[in-house]
């Protein structure tokens, strides 16, 4: 299965600023996703990162707040824009192939604290 490198692992940011999180996969994958996870809670899907086209966002998440790029089959970024303390969370990227029963691989997560 694919291996994902996610950066940064953690950051402390001032409110009103933006942070870009990067995920690099070691092989070409069909699917890439971004999740948000509050400590001790489940994963909530933010969006599906589509290669070469606009991301598909879940209800409650908008492109202006969480712009996503996916320029090729191995790389994606998530930007958390105009941050507020409510954006403090863990952000994870996930990737995998469309075919087969393979579970998706996850990055190690980015712990974001907004002060």
């Amino acid at each position: 299965s694919a291996v994902i490198s996610q950066k940064p692992s953690r950051d402390i940011c001032q409110r009103g600023t933006s942070l870009t999180i990067q995920c690099q996969v070691d092989s070409q994958v069909t699917m890439m996703f971004w999740y948000r996870q509050q400590p001790g809670q489940s994963l909530t899907l933010i969006a599906t990162a589509n290669q070469g086209s606009e991301a598909t966002y879940e209800s409650g998440f908008v492109i202006d707040k969480f712009p996503i790029s996916r320029p090729n089959l191995t790389f994606s970024t998530l930007t958390v824009s105009n941050m507020s303390p409510e954006d403090s969370s863990i952000y994870l990227c996930s990737a995998g192939r469309l075919q087969g029963d393979y579970g998706y691989t996850f990055g190690s997560g980015t712990r974001l604290t907004v002060v």
Binding site: M31, F33, T48, L92, D101, G103, S108
Partner: protein
């Protein structure tokens, strides 16, 4: 939309004993995948076991096995001979086979404690 329910927020097991974590899901689809993921304090999501809905045989991976009841939409995880390293959050997950719906949906999680 598919939903995944884990009704046990916390479970505890004695080292070397067996524990079963419960998961139910709701779907109108006939073909899909089910997974159990483990998340230790390091935050890394680790795939424990997978099951294809069309397979009647329950999946097994070493000390981990599942009881898949498709009609009941139930997918429980059994951990045998529990070890201290099994302590973690466990998430049950559902993935559709539909081309335009391939994201993974997670339950709320069960925190497993292993007592020495």
């Amino acid at each position: 939309a598919q939903t995944v329910t884990q009704s046990q927020p916390e479970m505890s097991v004695q080292e070397a004993e067996t524990v079963t974590l419960s998961c139910t899901y709701d779907t109108s689809e006939s073909d899909y995948y089910l997974f159990w993921y483990k998340q230790p304090p390091s935050r890394q999501m680790i795939l424990v076991i997978r099951q294809e809905a069309y397979k009647q045989q329950n999946a097994t991976e070493n000390r981990f096995s599942v009881n898949f009841q498709k009609a009941a939409k139930s997918f429980s995880l059994k951990i045998s001979d529990s070890q201290l390293g099994d302590a973690a959050m466990y998430f049950c997950a559902y993935r559709s086979q539909l081309y335009n719906n391939n994201d993974m949906r997670f339950g709320a999680g069960t925190r497993l404690t292993v007592k020495p």
